[in-house]
């Protein structure tokens, strides 16, 4: 049963497309806004240049979908109001996975269907690539996001299957190598 929210007002002046290299400055701006929201600003260690190298070089480490609001008048330029950043991953019992790393819509453009449209775009990409799954993480206090995911039929695996996320940072990696 589909419970994906489709009853929203479509924003007529917004287009959804694959990101281009020139979008990186704007994407970086939105990444910083998301970090502020998640209280993880101290963890942002990349720049627009990093994004250009990692997303638009020979080896593409990620892909990005953006929501662009057209310029309202001749004097304005269009700007990005949201993005969804993903990469290909693998679930060895099932197969290809589209992993969503970031989903963000700027503060004053919420509740207008932008996130739903970004997500639907990503899902089309996933289905075209024969992915068996989409996967992502969300912070447990982010009730708005959790509600959005539950509405579309996503399952909280931490609760259902008891998954914990483990991480080894650079210092620990170096230390582990000396074991």
């Amino acid at each position: 049963m589909n419970r994906f929210p489709t009853s929203y007002t479509r924003m007529a002046d917004v287009t959804y497309r694959h990101a281009e290299k020139d979008d990186c400055d704007e994407i970086m701006r939105l990444i910083k806004e998301l970090a502020v929201f998640e209280n993880l600003v101290h963890q942002v260690n990349i720049t627009s240049e990093t994004l250009k190298r990692d997303g638009f070089g020979e080896e593409k480490l990620f892909h990005c979908i953006v929501a662009e609001e057209k310029a309202k008048s001749g004097a304005d330029t269009s700007q990005l109001i949201g993005y969804l950043l993903y990469f290909w991953s693998y679930a060895t019992f099932t197969g290809r996975v589209l992993y969503v790393e970031d989903l963000y819509v700027s503060q004053n453009n919420r509740r207008k269907g932008v996130a739903s449209a970004l997500w639907a775009f990503a899902m089309k990409v996933a289905v075209a690539k024969e992915c068996k799954r989409m996967q992502w993480v969300v912070l447990d206090w982010n009730t708005d996001a959790i509600r959005f995911y539950q509405k579309m039929g996503a399952v909280d695996l931490s609760k259902k299957e008891g998954w914990l996320i483990y991480r080894l940072n650079e210092d620990d990696i170096n230390a582990a190598l000396t074991l």
């Binding site: 589909n2 994906f4 489709t6 479509r10 959804y16 990444i31 998301l34 993880l40 260690n45 990349i46 990692d54 480490l61 950043l85 990469f87 290909w88 991953s89 693998y90 060895t92 019992f93 197969g95 992993y99 790393e101 269907g113 449209a117 639907a120 775009f121 899902m123 089309k124 992915c131 068996k132 799954r133 989409m134 996967q135 992502w136 993480v137 969300v138 912070l139 447990d140 206090w141 995911y149 579309m152 039929g153 996503a154 399952v155 909280d156 695996l157 609760k159 008891g162 998954w163 914990l164 996320i165 483990y166 991480r167 080894l168 990696i173 170096n174 230390a175 582990a176 190598l177 074991l179």
Partner: protein, 180 residues
């Protein structure tokens, strides 16, 4: 190019296309060990296409017995990982599968696989290696803590979410915005 690390009675090396049969067998052993929580639908052909085709969805390293006489050395463990991306830290390594065959445990094989993987991660400029583990898998958790890894679920409150292919198709079918 095949990177080789030598230790004890095993070598650690990059997996090759011809390893897929044995990796697939170990994958099924791991599925059993994890109590079949994920239903196995992957086929050996997909493993070959997805890891050794034009688009590589994963990378794999294996622990292989040192050759002895004419007997083809067996694989005794594997570590399968993906390159991922964090908008805070850049390139990351995500370990998807880590498995050592029953009779070869507590001999340093697991540590050797992890040491090889983390070396590759550092060489590629990764600042982090990440993975998930079942909260009941006490043995694995003890191993990870010994490596110095931190439980981020506890530390930062992350929950793992997933949308399966039926739900995805359902959403795409009813999407109106992207059909413009």
């Amino acid at each position: 190019m095949s990177r080789v690390s030598i230790m004890a009675d095993y070598i650690i090396r990059d997996a090759r296309l011809e390893d897929c049969g044995e990796i697939f067998l170990m994958l099924k052993e791991l599925q059993e060990h994890l109590k079949d929580m994920d239903h196995m639908t992957l086929e050996e052909e997909s493993l070959k296409n997805d890891g050794f085709g034009e688009d590589k969805f994963f990378q794999c390293i294996v622990a292989e017995q040192k050759p002895s006489g004419d007997v083809k050395p067996a694989l005794v463990g594997y570590l399968l990982y993906c390159w991922s991306y964090s908008t805070s830290a850049g390139r990351m390594m995500v370990v998807q599968d880590f498995y050592v065959r029953q009779t070869y445990r507590t001999q340093g094989t697991g540590s050797a696989l992890w040491a090889h993987a983390t070396k590759v991660a550092l060489e590629k400029g990764c600042r982090e290696v990440e993975w998930i583990v079942h909260d009941w898998n006490v043995q694995a958790i003890k191993f990870y803590k010994k490596l110095g890894a931190v439980d981020m679920s506890k530390g930062e409150g992350w929950l793992v979410y997933r949308l399966d292919v039926n739900a995805m198709r359902s959403v795409v079918a009813t999407d109106t915005v992207n059909k413009q």
